[in-house]
Subunit: 468 residues, 2 copies
């Protein structure tokens, strides 16, 4: 839409400080002439900016850039880095592939639930039924937006946690990572600043780097997730265009952001026209069974793009995920269409058939129970055999443990020693913009518990002790 | 400058009559050897002489002393635009999704072979066997680079057309489009100039636009594909970083680039360090059965990234393609890993199983025959019922027909009229950087022939007549 373009451009000028608080904006007539648009379009653009809180109308005087109460910056929130936004420069990120590609490891790093924890048999049966019933459709192209039946299924499921989703705004993707990557491509341009939490999933850091974005971090507090006040301060200090956040059981540290913070984060971003891309991959994996709300619950469809998939709950290898794209649906479908055309049909139809005939909730209950038990077993094993002083996260959900190593052990050194012993783990600095968390390690909870896992954890602890 | 010296000496010889009008000049390679200069310098020297009107290039024959000095430089090589590289600005590209998403159309635009033309039954059986044998593996994550068995299969197949491929350089992708998009992301940065042919597939144009690249075009000649001389001239005039070319049965116009041009294109790009991304999606679809060579055949692994898939020959909906990534393999695997993690496992294993037990070549022979027959039927139908003067491409392979409409009919107008009548087709300007080919239309050859298709083609012709 013309007026959206215009509002977008003016908004960007305001955010970048080119139009300053209190400054008078051109009259409707002048704006129309200047931009070669009708007066109606100019009105729409100003109204849009007014809704976004960027401009205000003053009676008989016209429109003005809103004068924000600028808070004393350094008095607040010492946790937000004062450094300038960073372009990613963590060389360790480039090495992560070696771990992911080696097949001879005891993979204590994997966050993907093992086959034993997932309903593989039921899904295989559903796939076979799909193929028998209609091999033609299962092997032919589907629409770029994805199978309607599946989009409806996704919308129904979100109703269960208080989020109204229109199937017409759902885009099926090749996993959550593609959804995040597409969303970023749609709402940012190279050089833009995005807000991330720290630590965060290395895949998000890589996607941000690949797009030439700059990033600014707010802390993800192990106990309480993202602090809305820190987000607000960061938005005041930096010209942030979008945020990529993992409020529910952040990978690596498992933190869960509280509902009040969620509400306030969404409000702060909304006021400044910052689009939030939410990675809700672990939202269904609360050990208590009580699903935490996604950020989307507290925002309109224009403001939060929720990304997730069935890769951690049903079928990792099928690569079926989604974006609740809201007002961005056309852009995201287009980006999808011209990067991978459409998500594979057979996996979509197989999952649709699985939902039609099988009990996902029962399977999910079992998975949650297993992950919760795993977290306990992993923590116990670490307490028993790792150096005193090792600190381990206590997640209430999700698929990872975040360790602070004792005795100043370097995570990269432990990672390398572990690899030499055929054990997979990930060094903490992978989860940082520029190599923080040298003393941390991430383990995954995906493996089914057995003696080999127990031995592996003991061996890792022994290596940590030797390095201390 | 070296080349100026050389041009000066050669020019003097021509003016003195030592080299005579019509006389053939040494080949670039020979001139280089003879004068102990690089081929690039030899090229520069000949170009200088060409601009001075002293020599002329003859297609596929080399350089000759010009019969008489004719200076007008703009008369030469009219096909290469002298304009500056363009950032994409064709608004029609944004509308293409409407066509692709409407399910109520008679889809005369589709280039994907219909289910009847593909071995769906065998593939479904292979998928079912895979699932029975190992549901766990089929539903679990695979490595980001893709299944080794499949990468070996791809390498074996290229041996058949004289290309040695190492399975270790093959990356499995979600179709050819993802391969092209990943390759572009790895070898370019926003603002770089890429060389394209015109007309070309709108997906390539969109991928280029999405990455913020600028593009310069060389013509794809309907009869003979890409002209190496035009490529060379474009490379001389613009700081090209990469080329995206479709030498084998270009979509839309079906053109096939000759082997000499292929060799010369690869050489010209190689000399200037320009990476060629080759879309070889239609290479297996020569109607004669004689598979044309990919550009990769004429280049080392550093210089050409060949992208293709089984979407037009085996299973569109499975979204399995590949890149022969050569020296770029690590970069492309990394980009893949952080945009969609890995290609879905089940489709890869299903295709692997299909190749192990079924006869792809037999199925392909049948498909080629059907497409060749379709091309003939489509052309006959158009000749019978479209306005006199309509010109239709005569492809020797591939899945599309390119029409030049008679009587000045606008492709967009015909497209809109067709949509209103429930018929899908694509307006020519979709295949252009900035809206050329207004008088063209693209049809696909994917549908199985029947009375509805015949009626649809007649109806389209009637609409074209009405608009004329």
């Amino acid at each position: 839409m013309l007026y959206e373009d215009l509002a977008g451009r003016l908004g960007a000028q305001i955010r970048r400080g080119l139009l300053r608080p209190g400054e008078r904006l051109p009259s409707l007539r002048r704006l129309g002439r200047q931009e070669k648009v009708s007066i109606a379009t100019a009105v729409e653009a100003y109204l849009r900016l007014e809704r976004e809180g960027l401009v205000e109308a003053r009676e008989r005087s016209g429109y003005f850039v809103r004068a924000r109460a600028v808070p004393p910056p350094q008095a607040r929130l010492p946790r937000v880095q004062s450094r300038a936004p960073q372009t990613l420069r963590n060389p360790a990120l480039l090495g992560v592939l070696d771990v992911l590609s080696r097949e001879d490891l005891l993979p204590l790093h994997v966050t993907t639930p093992a086959a034993e924890l997932l309903p593989g048999r039921a899904l295989a049966a559903a796939t076979a039924r799909t193929l028998r019933r209609d091999p033609g459709l299962a092997l032919a192209y589907g629409a770029p937006q994805g199978l309607l039946q599946l989009r409806e299924q996704i919308a129904r499921r979100y109703l269960g946690c208080g989020v109204e989703v229109d199937p017409a705004e759902v885009v099926i993707t090749a996993g959550a990572m593609e959804a995040i990557s597409l969303a970023l491509r749609c709402v940012t341009r190279a050089g833009d600043v995005v807000l991330l939490e720290t630590p965060t999933y290395y895949g998000i850091l890589q996607a941000v780097a690949a797009l030439g974005l700059r990033a600014i971090e707010v802390p993800s507090r192990g106990s309480a997730g993202i602090d809305a006040a820190a987000v607000r301060t960061a938005l005041e200090r930096h010209p942030v265009r979008a945020a990529v956040l993992v409020p529910n059981f952040n990978n690596p540290n498992g933190s869960l952001t509280g509902d009040d913070d969620k509400r306030a984060i969404v409000a702060a971003c909304g006021e400044r026209g910052v689009v939030v891309i939410e990675d809700d991959l672990y939202g269904e994996l609360a050990y208590s069974g009580e699903r935490p709300a996604p950020l989307r619950r507290y925002a309109g469809r224009a403001r939060v793009i929720t990304c997730s998939s069935w890769s951690k709950t049903l079928a990792p290898g099928l690569r079926v995920g989604w974006a609740l794209a809201g007002d961005h649906v056309d852009d995201i479908v287009r980006a999808k269409c011209f990067s991978s055309v459409a998500t594979a049909s057979l996996p979509q139809r197989a999952i649709g058939e699985y939902f039609a005939r099988h009990d996902f909730d029962r399977s999910l209950r079992r998975l949650r129970r297993e992950l919760a038990t795993n977290a306990q077993r992993w923590r116990d094993a670490i307490r028993r055999s790792w150096p005193d002083g090792t600190r381990v996260s206590e997640p209430a959900g999700g698929v990872s443990l975040w360790l602070e190593l004792a005795g100043g052990v370097d995570g990269q050194a432990l990672f390398e020693a572990a690899m030499a012993h055929g054990i997979g783990c990930l060094p903490g600095h992978l989860f940082s913009l520029r190599g923080d968390y040298r003393g941390h390690l991430r383990l995954g909870l995906g493996l089914a518990w057995n003696a080999r896992v127990e031995d592996g954890l003991r061996e890792l602890g022994r290596l940590a002790g030797r390095l201390a």
